[in-house]
C-alpha cells in the first residue's frame, strides 16, 4: 500500500515535471516573442499613414471639393478626438449602426460627394481604400489611450450586438471554422501567436483595442475591415463585403465586449 502510494507519487511528480519542462520551453519561446515585439514597438510605421491621413482629412477633395473636417463621427461635427473609442454606434442621420469606416464613407459621400460604392469595390491598399486607410490611421490615433466605451442602449445597437454574437459562432466553409474556433477560449495560440478570447472583456480588449494596426508580415496598415476580411479568408469563407452589416455587427460584438479596455491603436502586429 505504502509502496504503491510512493510509486504513484513519483510518477505524479515525474509527469508534473515533464509537463513543467515543456511548459517552461513554451514559455521561453513566448518570452522571446514578447522581447521581439518590444524591440519593434518603438517606431511603429503606422505613424507614416497617420501623417498622410491628417493631410487627407484637411485637404479638399471629391466632386464637392470639400474637406472632411465637418465629419460627425458621433461626438459632433469635426470632433475626432476620442470618437473612435465609442464606435460602432447608432447614427440618427443614416438610421444605422456604423463602424468607423462605414461612417467615414457617409462623410465622404455627404461632404465630398464621393460614391460609396467605389470605396466598397476598391481592393485594399489601393485607390480610394488607400486614402481610407490613412484617414483611419489618423482618426484612431486620436483615441489612443482612451477607454473603450461602446453603447448598446439604442435598440438598433443592441440588435447589432446580438447579430454579431450569432455571426461570431457561425460555422461554415470546408474547415468548419467560425470566429469562435480560434477566439472562443482562453490561453490558446496558433503557431506562436496568442489568440485573444474575444468572448471575454479581457480578450476582447486585447483584440479590439489593438486594431487597426501596422502589420509587420505584410508591411501594411490594416483597418478593422481588412482585419476581419483576412479572418474570413483564413476561415475559408467567401469574401465579406466591405462595410456590410455583417462586418459592423462583428465589430459591435467585439467592441462592446471590450468596454472598459484601453484603445491602443494604431497597434503593431505580426
Amino acid at each position: 500500500m505504502q509502496r504503491k502510494f510512493t510509486l504513484g507519487l513519483t510518477l505524479g511528480i515525474l509527469a508534473a515535471s515533464i509537463s513543467l519542462s515543456s511548459l517552461v520551453f513554451a514559455q521561453t519561446a513566448t518570452d522571446e516573442i514578447a522581447k521581439y515585439r518590444e524591440m519593434i514597438a518603438d517606431g511603429n510605421p503606422s505613424e507614416l499613414y497617420e501623417v498622410a491621413g491628417e493631410d487627407l482629412w484637411k485637404t479638399p477633395a471629391g466632386p464637392k471639393n470639400a474637406t472632411l473636417e465637418k465629419c460627425d463621427l458621433g461626438l459632433g461635427p469635426g470632433v475626432v478626438k476620442g470618437a473612435a473609442a465609442q464606435l460602432p454606434r447608432y447614427f440618427k442621420d443614416t438610421n444605422k449602426v456604423q463602424d468607423l469606416e462605414s461612417r467615414l464613407m457617409t462623410c465622404m459621400q455627404k461632404l465630398q460627394g464621393r460614391n460609396p460604392q467605389e470605396m466598397v469595390d476598391a481592393p485594399f491598399q489601393k485607390g480610394p481604400k488607400k486614402d481610407m486607410e490613412a484617414i483611419v490611421a489618423y482618426v484612431v490615433t486620436l483615441s489612443k489611450g482612451d477607454k473603450i466605451k461602446v453603447s448598446t442602449n439604442h435598440p438598433k445597437e443592441k440588435e447589432m450586438y446580438e447579430l454579431g454574437k450569432r455571426a461570431f459562432y457561425f460555422q461554415g466553409g470546408p474547415m468548419d471554422f467560425s470566429c469562435a474556433s480560434c477566439h472562443g477560449e482562453d490561453g490558446k495560440r496558433i503557431r506562436l501567436q496568442d489568440l485573444p478570447n474575444l468572448t471575454t472583456q479581457k480578450g476582447a480588449a486585447l483584440g479590439w483595442g489593438y486594431w487597426p494596426a501596422y502589420r509587420v508580415s505584410s508591411g501594411q496598415f490594416w483597418t478593422m475591415q481588412q482585419r476581419l476580411n483576412d479572418c474570413y479568408r483564413q476561415q475559408r469563407f467567401p469574401f465579406p463585403i466591405y462595410a456590410s452589416d455583417l462586418t459592423i455587427a462583428l465589430s459591435m460584438y467585439m467592441a462592446k465586449n471590450a468596454n472598459g479596455g484601453t484603445v491602443e491603436t494604431p497597434g503593431l502586429k505580426r
Binding site: E32, Y36, L192, G219, R270
Partner: protein, 150 residues
C-alpha cells in the same frame, strides 16, 4: 623653401583637411557600394569591404531577438565601446549577405539600430571598423513561421 616642397605641403594639408572634415568617407558613403551589396556569401562581402576575416570582439554587442515572429521585420542594433567609423549588418543565409552599412562621423555615437528582412533562420553578423580594423559579433536569429498561413 623650394617650390616642389611647398606644393606637397599644400597637397597634404588639403588632404588632411578633407579627411578631418570627413569628406573622404563622405564620398565613399554617398556612392552606393553596389559590389558589396551584390556579393553573395559572407566571404565575398568581407573581401569587398576590405574586412579580410574579421575577429570576434567582445567590445561589440549585436542586439537582435533570439526568435523573430516574422522574417520581414527583424530588429538589429549594433553597439560598441570601440570608436567605430563604419558598421555593417550581414545575414549569412540571405541571397545577398550585406543588409546595411553605416558611416559614423566623429561626434556620432557608436550605435545604430535598424530592421532587416531574413528569409530563414540564420546567423546575423555585426561588423565594426575602428582604427582601420574590422571586427565582429555574431548571433543566431530564429525565424518562425507564424499565423495560419504556414
Amino acid at each position: 623653401m623650394n617650390q616642389q616642397r611647398r606644393s606637397v605641403l599644400k597637397y597634404s594639408a588639403v588632404f588632411g583637411l578633407m579627411a578631418s572634415a570627413g569628406l573622404i568617407s563622405l564620398a565613399q558613403a554617398q556612392e552606393w557600394n553596389k559590389a558589396a551589396f551584390e556579393g553573395k556569401g559572407l566571404d565575398d562581402v568581407f573581401k569587398i569591404l576590405g574586412a579580410g576575416s574579421p575577429d570576434k570582439s567582445a567590445a561589440i554587442t549585436l542586439n537582435a531577438p533570439d526568435i523573430a515572429e516574422n522574417g520581414a521585420v527583424v530588429p538589429v542594433g549594433i553597439t560598441t565601446t570601440l570608436k567605430a567609423d563604419q558598421m555593417a549588418i550581414l545575414v549569412e543565409k540571405n541571397p545577398s549577405a550585406l543588409a546595411a552599412q553605416f558611416f559614423i562621423p566623429a561626434g556620432t555615437e557608436s550605435f545604430v539600430t535598424t530592421r532587416i528582412k531574413m528569409g530563414q533562420t540564420s546567423n546575423v553578423y555585426a561588423l565594426v571598423k575602428a582604427d582601420g580594423k574590422w571586427s565582429m559579433a555574431v548571433k543566431e536569429v530564429k525565424v518562425t513561421l507564424g499565423g495560419c498561413g504556414g
